[in-house]
Amino acid sequence: MQRLILMRLFYGVITLVIVSMIVFILSRLTGDPAALMLPLDATEEARINMTHVLGLDKPLYEQYWIFLSSAVRGDLGKSIRFREQVGTLYMQRLPNTLKLAGAAVFFVLIVSIPLGCFTALKKDSFADYGSRGFVSVGLAMPSFWFGLVLMQVFAVWLRWVDAAGMSTPKHYILPAVTLGLGMAAGMTRILRSGMIDVLDSEFIKMLRIKGLPERKVTFRHALRNAFIPPLTILGQYTAIILGGAVVVEVIFTWPGVGRLSYEAIMSRDFPVIQAVVLINGAILLFANLLVDILYAYIDPRIRSSV
């Protein structure tokens, strides 16, 4: 177990270094950050001066080394647009994104567990067809459009909720549903196919043979076994939440990390972009590690093999 964690951490750090390289190169491929920071009528002298202050006159590998070593020390640089430490900027926005992510995950679970597990118990029933339809539509839905439709219907026509703002729990409903729809559909599909596979297996038959009540067959045995495959994509979904949140946060003007990174990209605020990508990568790494541990906790086969 410890070896597994150490291995994953090691690979994760390498991955992070590669990610930082990709973003660093991308950010240096375009434009001149110095030009972006100066007013349009700045003199050539001021530009050279600024280039020197930012260290942009050094060779590329040296710039990367400076960036990486200060990043390791926790200094991710200053935002060009806000003239503020990127770390502080990120930390201001992170709670909003986490709250939204929490609401979205809650939505995903309350939708996908009933739809995925209990319709699998009644295969080919009316409810089962309903859940399969939900999966197909949910996976095909462009989230930015779905968000707009939800806003139009529930905020403009029905006036049940407000389209923007985040002061009351009601404000969370639309963004969370928008963000969670695709994931809920994917999760439902995986849970359903996992559940059907498990329910078909011999050991479920054996449990029924020994006269175990159906409730225990379903909850104690079938559900626990069917939950193993979805766990592995939980890490994947973390990436979707952090990435898909860009779209949802832009539509609902949600002041989270997604909108921060969208604005950073649009205004070429590269220190912020680099920082967001790095921190997202670290979060993803951590989430995957957590999934691995959880996985080993549920499945004894994994626990003893590592």
Binding site: K123, D124, S201, E202, F203, K205, M206, L207, R208, I209, K210, G211, L212, P213, K216, H221, R224, N225, I228, I298, D299, P300, R301, S304
Partner: protein
């Protein structure tokens, strides 16, 4: 044949055919309603079993043996499988008419079953001990150390070495033979009267097979179990069973005592099956085989379904009707036009 006979003599128990009627099956019909049509998996099977008796049910794969076993448990694949006719009398009550809740009282406690594949018959994420204690507590109030003691006792009963240590093991840590023993312990944990064993040794290797059969036989005698042993191997039937039923295409074509069937098989299909078992006392260059494929069980024509493959078919076989059972000896019947 002498080797087989000596096996019979050593293993045959003394309790045979003296007990009460344990199970009486009358004209049981189980159909599967599939996309491709109705499959008559069990089509009018009648037989009765006494306490402590062991019935071998023999037939090729796909002849309905397994569906017969699952019908008795009322655990047919849903929603395709359905019992469409007949009665299964157990303790004077018809199992077919019982509700699902009543059936749960019977499953495990009265009638139990061992499945074919031990590799998949145990929940992979629960320890052996947990699965055993779970089974015990279904029908008893044992708790704490007494419960564990009972689980250890069950493992000891199926001759698992170091049973106390084994409780913490997970199924994937055990060999196929050991797992099948655990499955046996779980099936017998609630002391059922009837045990249906559905090809329990097919997926085990030969030595393990022999050990398991010996275990099953001794348990049957000790617990006075009524055993229905489903297999395709006549050699195993000879070692373990008192009576043999031969199934073909959902129908029981011959039923009788083991000696009768072995010494004097009547149905052409039974003869073929017995001939295809290798024997030590006869020098043969080629084993007998049955030509053709077993029929698919939907859209069977009327008349004897073995006819296309039968070596003794002739004008006596009526094409429009299935032969009725004909008694050819004491407790020995056969369904074939030769004996009508």
């Amino acid at each position: 044949m002498s080797e087989v006979v000596s096996e019979i003599n050593t293993l045959r128990s003394a309790t045979r055919s003296s007990g009460q009627i344990a199970l009486e099956i009358k004209d049981l019909k189980t159909y599967l309603y599939t996309r491709w049509g109705v499959v008559k998996a069990v089509d009018g099977v009648s037989l009765s079993l006494r306490d402590g008796e062991c019935l071998g049910l023999v037939g090729e794969s796909g002849c309905g043996k397994t569906m017969f076993g699952l019908s008795l448990m009322r655990l047919l694949p849903r929603p395709a499988g359905r019992i469409v006719g007949g009665e299964v009398l157990f303790n004077g009550e018809d199992i077919v008419k019982k509700s699902e809740a009543e059936m749960r009282e019977i499953r495990g406690r009265q009638i139990s079953m061992v499945l074919q594949d031990p590799m998949t018959a145990l929940d992979p994420i629960f320890s052996v001990g947990r699965q055993l204690t779970e089974t015990i507590t279904i029908s008893s109030d044992l708790k704490g150390p007494a419960l564990l003691e009972r689980a250890v006792e069950l493992l000891r009963m199926v001759r698992i070495p170091a049973p106390a240590e084994r409780l913490a093991a997970f199924p994937f840590q055990m060999s196929g033979g050991m797992r099948q023993r655990v499955v046996g312990a779980i099936a017998l944990a609630q002391e059922p009267r009837i045990l249906i064993a559905d090809e329990p040794t097919t997926s085990l290797d030969v030595t393990t097979q022999a050990n398991y059969l010996r275990l099953l036989k001794s348990l049957q005698e000790r617990l006075n179990l009524t055993l229905i042993f489903i297999t395709h191997d006549f050699g195993i039937v000879a070692r373990v069973c008192h009576r043999v039923g031969v199934m073909y295409a959902g129908k029981l074509v011959e039923l009788g005592d083991v000696e009768d069937i072995f010494d004097n098989p009547r149905h052409p299909y039974t003869k073929c099956l017995i001939d295809s078992v290798p024997k030590l006392d006869k020098r043969v260059t080629r084993l007998a085989t049955i030509t053709g494929q077993p029929p698919t069980l939907h859209d069977l024509p009327p008349g004897c379904s073995f006819r296309p493959r039968c070596t003794e078919a002739g004008t006596h076989c009526r094409p429009d009707q299935y032969p009725d059972p004909a008694m050819v000896g004491d407790r020995h019947y056969v369904r074939c036009w030769l004996y009508q």
